[in-house]
């Protein structure tokens, strides 16, 4: 790392993340106001907005988006808070934590497919209890998948967001002095949950606030999960935007651009609303704390929380199990709980397609994750050497690409790339993935990197090591495990990207995720099983390696195994 380059890295990193977002937004705003000279439209005017408000499904689509976001976020947060409050520090909690961490890497689409196979009226749960218990020879005509209330869509998001928020909470716990606070609270006779919520939660929430906002923004604007589980009459706003953006009629593209701006405003409004509820909750919470109630029903709530947590984890695990079953299934009729016959044919058929997609996915994910890792280490090292400490604003910048809806800036970015002549191919897709990979890699590595014992560096310097030598020969090897974990996080994020690959790749770049969703539209469950499973593996294998490699390399260095 050249000395002159290092101080510039933080700026470069911010540019790599925010540049495309800003450019994409800019290229979106002009067409939103009817200015699109290439299409013969000269603005500014409000025609496109008028057309959206005239679309009969608009208010419902907007409501769906808001409803899904608020339901999914508040329930995920509630499960995580009750679970941590009731069980942190126990063995059950450690088991659950270990079970949930790999779930974080399961791509949203695969989890959604699994959930659909599980809870549909003809799904596995119904098959398990039919007909001996229920008497159903035919599945009930029930609107579970694609329900207009978005409950199933919210569920599909919750099973993925609970692991995310839980791991964020666990990271925050270590900086909240939770142990001593709880010891005091319990000595004063507070129940486990009541005590935790009263004394630990306020400082934990301050730290996980941004991740919670990310969950809210994501749940409001998700496209792939909504395509699988969401309603269609009308669809949530984000799906409708994608429909408009891909219509051959150009007028609808202007409409898509305007709708994307409306979506952005909705997200900002929802975040504002959430902030207000936070303030209200804080005020009510203070009154509640002052009342000094010790908590009566803690045991019941505590057990309920465990049930919810276990249900969340098993929904994903069972879903993946069903994907596996379908991928080996011959004919499988209702109400049989297992396929009538097993076959290898599905894997033989899809094998060649899968292996092409696996390579493309791997190349893109590895490149994006490695670039993100280099930038992140550069930033953190620059922070360490030159004390370029990132303030509160910096953390916000880091989260910004995750807070702005993908549909709001990706189509604009696509137009920009086409105009630059870099219309298609792997390169632009990697750049687009980097926007989303970088924040996660940074968030994953920052804490362990900063927590490294600097006295090691002092010793090395005393032994005449240069700053670069300290970095390469002492710090990075010692941080092998967190570095590999950050890399695995980056790969998992890249594997799961649907919209950036689809829009920026122009169809020429097919990853496991785009392939899985293209095949999903045809409803062939055996194909979905094969692709969903491969998608899951693509994200899980790096995590496994991130655990195995350090264990192997440091097999005779016990102190280093845990980073």
């Amino acid at each position: 790392m050249k000395r002159r380059l290092l101080p510039a890295l933080p700026t470069l990193t911010i540019l790599a993340m925010l540049g495309p977002v800003a450019a994409g937004l800019y290229w979106k705003i002009l067409p939103a106001f009817g200015h699109f000279p290439a299409a013969g439209a000269y603005g500014p005017n409000l025609d496109a907005f008028r057309a959206i408000f005239a679309w009969p499904g608009f208010s419902e689509a907007a409501w769906l988006s808001i409803r899904t976001g608020l339901i999914a976020t508040s329930i995920s947060l509630m499960i995580v808070v009750l679970l941590t409050a009731g069980w942190s520090g126990t063995r059950a909690f450690r088991v659950l934590e270990r079970a949930l961490s790999p779930l974080l890497s399961v791509p949203h689409a695969a989890a959604a497919f699994g959930l659909a196979f599980l809870i549909a009226p003809s799904g596995w749960i119904a098959r398990l209890i039919s007909p001996w218990l229920t008497g159903w020879e035919q599945p009930l005509d029930l609107l579970i998948i694609r329900d207009p209330l978005c409950i199933t869509l919210a569920l599909g998001l919750i099973i993925k967001e609970v692991p995310f928020l839980l791991l964020m909470t666990i990271a925050a716990l270590s900086q909240s002095d939770a142990h001593r606070k709880m010891a005091v609270a319990q000595a004063l006779g507070y129940g486990r949950i009541t005590g935790w919520v009263k004394v630990v939660f306020p400082s934990v929430y301050a730290q996980i606030r941004l991740p919670v906002y990310v969950v809210l923004a994501y749940a409001m604007t998700v496209v792939d999960v909504a395509l699988i589980l969401g309603p269609t009459t009308p669809p949530p706003l984000s799906v409708q935007i994608v429909n408009w953006m891909s219509d051959p009629d150009l007028m609808l593209r202007l409409q898509g651009a305007s709708a994307a701006l409306i979506q952005l405003i909705l997200v900002i409004a929802a975040l504002g609303f959430w902030r207000m509820v936070e303030a209200l909750a804080a005020r009510l919470g203070r009154i509640w704390i002052q009342k000094g109630t010790r908590g009566q029903n803690d045991t019941i709530i505590r057990n309920a929380a465990l049930v919810l947590g276990v249900t969340t984890a098993s929904a994903v695990f069972l879903g993946i199990l069903i994907l596996t079953l379908w991928s080996f299934a011959g004919f499988w009729s209702f109400p049989n709980a297992t396929p009538d016959a097993f076959t290898l044919r599905n894997w033989q058929r899809h094998g060649p397609g899968v292996s092409d997609a696996v390579w493309e996915t791997a190349i893109i994910a590895l490149t994006a994750a490695v670039i993100a890792l280099v930038l992140t280490i550069g930033c953190l090292e620059a922070e360490h050497r030159y004390h370029l400490k990132m303030g509160k604003g910096g953390v916000w910048l880091l989260y910004l690409p995750l807070l702005i809806p993908q549909v709001a800036f990706l189509p604009g970015l696509q137009t920009l790339f086409i105009n630059m002549g870099a219309a298609m191919g792997r390169g632009p897709v990697i750049l687009a993935h980097l926007i989303f990979v970088l924040p996660y890699v940074y968030l994953s590595l920052a804490d362990p990197f900063r927590a490294w014992d600097a006295r090691m560096g002092t010793i090395a310097t005393a032994l005449r090591a240069t700053p670069d030598g300290v970095l390469w020969r002492v710090r990075l090897p010692m941080l092998l495990r967190p570095i590999l974990t950050a890399l695995a996080v980056g790969i998992a994020v890249s594997v799961g990207q649907y919209l950036p690959t689809l829009l920026i790749g122009g169809g020429r770049v097919t990853t496991l995720t785009t392939e899985a969703l293209a095949i999903a539209s045809g409803g062939d469950r055996r194909a979905i099983g094969v692709y969903g499973l491969m998608q899951t593996f693509a994200a899980l294998v790096p995590f496994t390696l991130a655990i195995l490699i350090p264990a192997l390399i440091w097999r005779n260095r016990r102190g280093l195994r845990h980073g």
């Binding site: 009969p56 609107l143 051959p248 299934a329 293209a518 409803g523």
Partner: protein, 398 residues
């Protein structure tokens, strides 16, 4: 769609540097080593396998690499070419060939986004059944050689004989059956092409005189002509699967619903698809197909080449290969794909004809005689308006 024409007028015209389709030897020579990105719907495993096979064959025989870009919606490819034209990307499109018909073709043709004419210069065009099949018009729009046919499709209804004993002869009968058996029938959500085809099929069948549909829809005749359709749908919708609150996204997405016993009856645009799906474990062996007494809507599937494709020669090689007896016989094999052929059996050599005669059309496939003559597609303007109205009436209601 008028904006398309406008852009077309604004964009600089392109010099045709491509090889003349009439000089086939030159086409074959130029195609060697080219890569053709074929944008085609990717939701059907059978179709994907067939396209992969075509890729292997043209690679071996002509050195053309075929990449299947799996679309969820053909309009994506149209949009792509359009964006490229706006951006001045006039010589190397991301799209070299599109599986296309109907409104998408009409839009691209009108906006001058297509390469050609080339279709009728292809060597295998001589084998095509020009008189017996609608291969020179596409939803009443003349193809003018700008797209090359490769498969015939016709509406059939798939039904499970375990639950329905007799085929039904008309859309009215189907309506009565759904009233007696609520929740057991549905159709894909328009604007999916099979969903809109279902709407057209209803209209064609219940109108006393469907000939009005062959000309462009006008403000004057649209409302009165389609009134019986909306009346029909108002009666049908409450008895649909999930009471019409949700619809399957595509035609093939209804197969698992039949397998699970959620549906007894569904619609398909491929007479051989049910047999292929049975062979593939996707449908129970008790499924059969039927057509209506008055016949059902049929059309051809085409491939077209964008004006800015960098591999027009390679694309023509693929289009020509698709018309070969070898590819057509394979496409008609219900164990593999089950699409109707566009070829004229009398134009084939005995050996080639034997390939078709040897095909076992499959347990659920109707014979050509049983399929009868296909009813012509209405003018695309009907479909566009009906799809919009459908969305306003049923697609956004809670």
């Amino acid at each position: 769609m008028k904006y398309l024409a406008l852009i077309a007028a604004l964009a600089p015209s392109v010099a045709l540097a491509d090889t003349n389709p009439g000089d086939w030897d030159a086409v074959v020579k130029a195609a060697n080593g080219q890569t053709v990105y074929w944008h085609a719907w990717g939701g059907s495993t059978q179709t994907n396998d067939f396209i992969a096979w075509v890729g292997d064959r043209v690679q071996a025989e002509y050195g053309v690499t075929l990449e299947h870009v799996k679309l969820t919606d053909t309009a994506d490819a149209v949009t792509r070419v359009l964006s490229e034209k706006q951006a001045g990307q006039n010589d190397d499109s991301a799209v070299d060939m599109i599986w296309i018909n109907g409104a998408n073709f009409a839009a691209m043709k009108e906006a001058d986004l297509l390469f050609g004419p080339f279709a009728e210069q292809l060597p295998n065009w001589a084998l095509v059944d020009v008189d017996g099949k609608t291969v020179q018009t596409d939803f009443t729009v003349p193809t003018d050689g700008m797209e090359s046919p490769w498969a015939m499709a016709q509406v059939v209804f798939d039904y499970d004989t375990a639950d329905i004993s007799e085929p039904m002869g008309s859309m009215r009968e189907i309506l009565d059956w759904t009233a007696a058996n609520p929740g057991r029938f549905t159709y894909p959500q328009p604007p999916d092409f099979l969903g809109t085809t279902f709407l057209k099929q209803v209209l064609v069948d219940i109108l006393d005189d469907p000939s009005v549909l062959s000309a462009e829809a006008t403000d004057a005749n649209y409302a009165a002509t389609t009134a019986p359709l909306w009346d029909y749908l108002d009666k049908l919708t409450p008895n649909l699967w999930r009471q019409g609150q949700a619809y399957p996204p595509t035609g093939t997405a209804m197969f698992p619903l039949i397998s699970d016993g959620e549906l007894d009856l569904s619609i398909s645009f491929s007479p051989g698809a049910a047999s292929a799906a049975i062979a593939n474990f996707e449908l129970p062996e008790t499924v059969r197909t039927f057509v209506l007494d008055k016949g059902t809507i049929g059309n051809a599937s085409f491939v077209a080449v964008p004006y800015n494709s960098g591999s027009t020669e390679g694309a023509m090689i693929v289009a020509n290969f698709l018309l070969s007896p070898e590819a057509q016989a394979r496409a008609q094999d219900p164990n593999l794909l089950g699409y109707g052929t566009v070829l004229n059996m009398d134009a084939l050599t005995d050996m080639d004809r034997a390939k078709f005669d040897a095909l076992d059309l499959g347990i659920a496939t109707l014979s050509p005689a049983e399929l009868g003559t296909a009813v012509a597609e209405p003018h695309p303007s009907w479909m566009t308006r009906i799809a919009e109205d459908w969305t306003a009436r049923y697609g956004v209601a809670q």
